[in-house]
């Protein structure tokens, strides 16, 4: 491989790394929902996906976050009965949940976001005064 090719590849690599370092689309780590969005309808790649792993995680993301982001889910602390009402309401309002997934989805939500879980700690937008 000639030197110019290596140089070009390295240049592209460094450029990519630097661009990623200032990109708003920050990778997620579970339990640490740090993501940057400034738009009401951000592209899917910027969506918050801080949902815990589980058999229904992907389907919850598909069914719920089409209309609202996952923070709305992860801040709830509800009983199984209350989650059932919420899922039924959202299905009525257009959430696409396969009937065969209905109970598994309610189980997933009530086991991960039940009343016994510690409170969700919300993040803040950047502050000009440096307050946290």
């Amino acid at each position: 491989m000639c030197r110019d090719t290596i140089s070009l590849l390295l240049m592209l690599l460094v450029a990519a790394l630097l661009l990623l370092s200032c990109s708003p689309m920050v990778a997620q780590t579970q339990g640490s929902p740090h993501v940057v969005m400034g738009l009401q309808k951000p592209p899917k790649v910027g969506e918050v996906v801080a949902l815990p792993s589980g058999p229904m995680a992907e389907k919850a993301a598909t069914a719920c976050t089409e209309c609202h982001e996952s923070r709305i889910i992860v801040q709830q602390r509800l009983s199984k009965g209350a989650w059932t009402k919420e899922v039924d309401k959202m299905v009525k309002w257009g959430a696409l949940v396969d009937p065969s997934d209905h109970y598994a989805l309610i189980d997933y939500l009530s086991s991960n976001f039940g009343v016994d879980k510690p409170p969700y700690e919300a993040g803040r937008t950047p502050s000009s005064t440096g307050k946290k």
Binding site: V14, H34, V35, G38, Q40, K41, H68, Q75, P126, S128
Partner: protein, 387 residues
Amino acid sequence: MISRRDFLRATSVAAAAAATIRPLLSWAADETGVAIPGKDGMIVRSARFLDLETPPEYFNSWITPVPHFFVRNHMHEPSTLDAATWQLSVGGEVEKPLTLTLADLKKLELHSVTNTLECAGNGRAFQRPQVPGVQWGKGAVGTGHFSGPRLRDVLHRAGVKTTGKHVMFHGLDEVPGKVPPFIRSIPIDKALDSDTLIALEMNGAPLTKPHGSPARALVPGWIGAASCKWLAEIKVLDKEFEGNFMSPGYRFPNQPGKPGEPVKPEDTHPVTGLNVKSVIAAPSEGAAVKGRSVHVQGVAWAGEADIVKVEVSADSGATWQVTQLGKEHAKYAWRLWNYAWKPGKAGDYVLMSRATDSQGRVQPETAVWNPSGYLYNAYDQVRIHVS
């Protein structure tokens, strides 16, 4: 092999590219949270839809600056909104339906109201048992100076028929899926009140988009949901609007029930005016403070009533001390309050506040539980350590 010169050149090209792009992303520079243009240090309950809460430490001014003013969106903000082509229709039970432009509204007499706006669900996170919805803490509330023509001047131009009993507001919220549109109504008496506005300005500047530009209803003293944003249609009705956000949404039990028990729809009424309530702005929850005197301060409001007294307690409510109310006051606006507390000795304390209003309502020790968590107004409290 690549030379050092080539490496530096590659790095500088990449850095230049990054430097070019970074300004475009400057709103997103803080990767620890969600950056929202025009908003500063806000608690993010949701970024889509936008639901931002004011941290209590910002409740240190009578007028809440727009960057620190809470935002409650039920749905997507309008994606296209041009003030130059925006129109407001006025119809229903009127003699002469109207279509008004922003210029038409600006020709009417402008009126200003300083109003404390609070989301009906403020404090929902403190309800036990927990209830579904945006889990607001203490800060879905703020005080703004709103200006615009009176709603009644517009309604008088249209000529309300004697059959007109309620006034419906329809905003330009973009509705996802099969979610019902955000439409609510208020009784005609409140619509014709001299302080109910079609607000065009907030704190001396045109409304920003999260706050309902170019025009929003401003129904003073009432829950925020009454003050419809991105207003597009006003319709006079012969009865209360029937829709999800009037029923089952935004209703309160006629009688307090047992927490956690369901409430029958026929045993509820629409949520309208705000409760009497106070919040401690300083010291902050968990603060460690020093000194013989601790400056305790906060805000208190009561919807359509006036605050007459705010008290604080440092002994679980056994004794209460009356605080000093701030000089700034206006109908519908909160009062600042402060108190120089002398703890006496070091230790852990729980500071509590309670407000009393001109209707004799006193902020209760326990709020009335309800299935949607509306109008939470139990004593506020912060835990602190004095050394």
